[in-house]
């Protein structure tokens, strides 16, 4: 009797971290930023990470984006272990799979809004014509179609953050990592920007891991996890019950 074929193909999670620890030195002291953290994020899922300052949220984000290396444990994005990549391979992989929304001054000050969005595509040697159309499309999606030629200091804080979102998404990443995307914005603008980020990510099928202090922003996520002293703990799903694309995600906090 032939084996029964599954009715769907299980997809790799967008990102997964398994038993990750990370320590760094500050003023001669060793600080454990992550202490055995494990995490899975499904494709299309929006995960908010909350917790007090210094709890390891940003460290987790940088490890997921391959900007830092864990002391132990594994971190994978789209099934690829960051540890298996070195040097420029990591950069190229990040370029193709991760989009970063950086906290605070996130834009290159000397580049226009359009150029800021275009940067990942230029780095990736995308053809100019395609670059132009994708840049215009990305800016249009965040409502800045007419602001392409403006320099960052000619844009408001909200506009700058929207440019940052457009830049994070223009490369059609698997995973969007957002570090306090509303940190410098008033609550109304913050909510609007978050909505924009999540809509755009979902539209592109990207998973989003979002570090935030703002509960109203966290409330928009599919799932919220909390960090304390480098450890993850689950919280109740407070966001809209969206079904992740590609089936249910196997995502959970560390035991």
């Amino acid at each position: 009797m032939p084996a029964e074929a599954p009715d769907y193909v299980p997809l790799e999670p967008a990102a997964e971290a398994a038993d990750v620890t990370h320590t760094y030195a500050r003023d001669g002291l060793s600080v454990k930023a992550l202490d055995g953290a494990s995490l899975n994020v499904a494709r299309g899922e929006v995960l908010a990470v909350v917790g007090p300052s210094g709890s390891g949220k940003s460290t987790l984000l940088f490890l997921l984006g391959g900007l830092d290396r864990p002391d132990s444990g594994t971190v994978k994005v789209a099934g690829v272990d960051w540890q298996s990549l070195s040097g420029d391979e990591r950069a190229r992989f990040r370029r193709g799979n991760c989009g970063f929304v950086v906290q605070g001054m996130a834009l290159l000050p000397q580049a226009t809004a359009g150029e800021n969005v275009e940067v990942p595509l230029v780095l990736d040697d995308v053809e100019p014509a395609e670059r132009a159309s994708r840049t215009a499309e990305a800016l249009d999606r965040v409502g800045l179609a007419g602001e392409q030629a403006k320099l960052p200091d000619q844009l408001s804080g909200g506009q700058q953050q929207r440019v940052g979102i457009a830049r994070a998404l223009v490369g059609r990443p698997t995973l969007v990592l957002a570090d306090e995307p509303t940190g410098n914005l008033d609550s109304k603008t913050g909510l609007a920007v978050t909505a924009l980020l999540l809509d755009a990510a979902r539209e592109g099928g990207a998973a989003v891991v979002m570090v935030t202090h703002d509960p109203t922003v966290a409330a928009q996520a599919d799932r919220v996890i909390e960090m304390h002293s480098g450890r993850l703990s689950p919280t109740a799903r407070t966001g809209p019950a969206a079904t992740p694309a590609g089936g249910p995600a196997e995502a959970g906090p560390t035991p």
């Binding site: 990040r94 290159l108 000397q110 990942p120 230029v122």
Partner: protein, 894 residues
Amino acid sequence: MIIWLASQSLRRAPLRLVLGAFGVAFPVAMLGATLLFLSQAVTSMTQIALQPVQVEQRALATSLDVNMTAVARELAAVPGVSTVDRFAAANVFVHTSGDPGGASARLFAVDPRYFRDHPWARIVSGSLGGGALLDQALRDYSPAFAQAQQLTIDLPGGGGSLTMPAAGTADLRQALPTWFAIPAGDVQGDVALVPRAIVIPYATFEKRLLPAIIKKLGPATTVLNPGLTDLPPVSLEVHVGVDHNAYPSDPGTASVWSGALRRLLERTPAPGAIVVSDNGAEPLSEASADATNAKILFLLLGIPGALVAAALGLAAQSALAEGQRREDALLRLRGATESQLVRLAGLQAVLAGLLGSMIGLAVAFVGVSALEGHAAGQDTSGSGVAFAVLLALAAGALTTGVRVVRLIRSSKRSEVITERRVLERGWRPLWFRAYLDVAAIGVGLAILTINILAGGLKLTPIEAAQGTTLALSFYVLLAPIALWIGIALFAIRILLAGALRLTRPDRSRALPSWRAAALRWLGRRPARTGVALAIGILAVAFGTQVVSFVATYTSAKQSDATAAFGSDLRLTAGDPLYTLPKSLGPNVASVTPIRQVPARSGTDRKTIDAIDLSTYSGTVTTTPQMIAGKGVQGLIEDPSGVIVAQEIATDFAVTVGDNLPVTIFPDDQDLSRNVNFHVVGIFRSFPPSNPFAEMVVSTAGLPPYSAPRPDFYLARVTVGQSPSAVAAELAANPAVHKRFAVQTVAGMTQAAPRSLASLNLDGLKQIEAIGAGLIAALGVAVLGAFVVYERRREFAILEALGATRSQIAAGPKQEGIVTVVGSLVVGLPLGLLLSLLSVRVLGLFFTLPPPLLTIPVSSLLAFVGLMVATCGLALVGALFAVTRIRAATALREP
């Protein structure tokens, strides 16, 4: 509290102290090294000026009854005096039993030890103790004198006579500047070429002849007569030797010291008994003027180096501003008041200034010592070194002061983000807003215009204590400095304007490539590159100027030396009787004799070069520089023609076509004749110009009986032969070397280096060129530091966006390349232009017009190579630092 905070701050950020100290150390080192080198060069001028002085002080009896033995004893006790020798001279008539007709001669009386104290007066044979010594001219006068055993010396007109044995021969050719020089009066120092001389012991003179002279002439002497134009009929002297090391090392101070010694010597015996002629006064006065000129020249050449080093220092310190502002913000959060922050910043700056000044001085001493091959300041006066140290420290204090002011101003400024935005986007530094570049160009052009309207570059005669010396209009050298600053900054202004126009955001199209993107962004954010480029252009232009100026200067010096020497080789007979072998071998192409004929025109004694027209032109290696009329051709066309120096034409108001009456051999009754020469040309330089002759005639133009034996011969080597090799070959030829001294140009230059035009600027060139190369490189390093300190977050963002290390480094790399290439493209031609101007200013110091500009290709390549290599290292270091930035850390920073 503040001191504790400062120590804590230094403990936490020692690199900031080191960089701050470095910012001060660099200008201190540049200025200190220049001044120490200058001090060394000026010091050597005193010794060089005194080298040809045979007798430093000449004490002349005002009355023949002064006891010069007692005077000599008293003068010997004066501090600084190393030798005292009695000396007397008188006109006499000498005859022998075989030649009762006899001959006139100049009698000299000295003690035997005079020849030991003064080796330039030489006994060829016999000894003074045995009787009288005859010079070669008297020996040659007749066979009777050549073989004389006994001589009778008569005072002219009778009144005294002395018979004594002929005891040998003396060579007095080297004694001309002292024994035959007019000892006092308006023409003091002019040499009267009395044809024959006899030397007798002073004791004999004092005992046997002096009483008769006093009886005949009375006790009065003519040394107090300012109108004295000939050798006095009789003079009693004490020749006072002064140890050259006793003179202060600075020529100006030495000149004053020498004058004071002269007055002290005059006051030592009974008042009014002697007058003292200071033979060192004139050369020291000239050396003093040369030293002043050299100081101005060195400073004007060296100051730009110190200025650009100071600018670099300040730029380096401002690279630390980011860290400083962060620390200030932290301290403010913890309750520090503004005045506390200001005092803290001031204390840190002063500490850095002190440390930097010490480091700078140490580097200056080590650098100059390495160049000189001995400890810097070893041969220099304490005051010279102290001056250099104090001025260098003042530069350090000034740099520190400017830094403190900047720190105080920046501590009152707004937030980091605003500050950075101001710096990066709307970069309009003070010089830009104040149009300092345009003003500097205006000043430079105004100086040049005024100079041209005032008659162009010229030497200004100034009256010195004794004689006349020359001062140059050095203010003109300020023009190159003003143009240096102005053009360099103006170039930055143009580049900025072009870059901002080309990269305006509203004109930007899609990014063509990552490299093009980096270049476009550089155009929009030019501040840091602009600073580095300004430093680079200034440094390269300065280095190029110094290197090419020194090359042109050296070339002009070499031309002068060649013109002074006349040809490849010079052969001087050890004895006038010696004749040159008919052939000097296959490596000598031609030989020409040069005769120097003494002459008098009016009351002035002059020297005439008599040249052999058939061989002269084929032998000399440089052609005469004529101002008017004809050169050698004029003498060929007119056998009684004379070519005169420019000063003769001016002093005697003669021009081409005029007659010039001259008395030749004015001090030789037998040969003296009045000759009427026709002026056929006026020369600026006529080789050989050393020893200098004011007039040039053809040997054939002299009365036939009067052509003396050649003073020396010029020889030209065959094409392809090295003069020094041929000189060595001739030195090995017994027929030549036993009778002739063979000299080359280099030998003569080494033997008589004097005046501003003979300064060795190689050391200065090395100091300034190495300094300039390092400044340019450090400008790039400062740019790198700016980039690493200020753009950490930007690089982290790029890394987060997926940029590879090489993509992240592309921007800083381009900024470094733009800085280096821009510095070279603008700095090299600017430096050459400035060098050209500087050479014009100093042109009149040379006998021959200096070349327009000598471009020392190999030196320039070495300089550019040094600059590119050091800049490359600095850039690689900066790029390495950029790639070491950890995004995860940088993105957390506020």
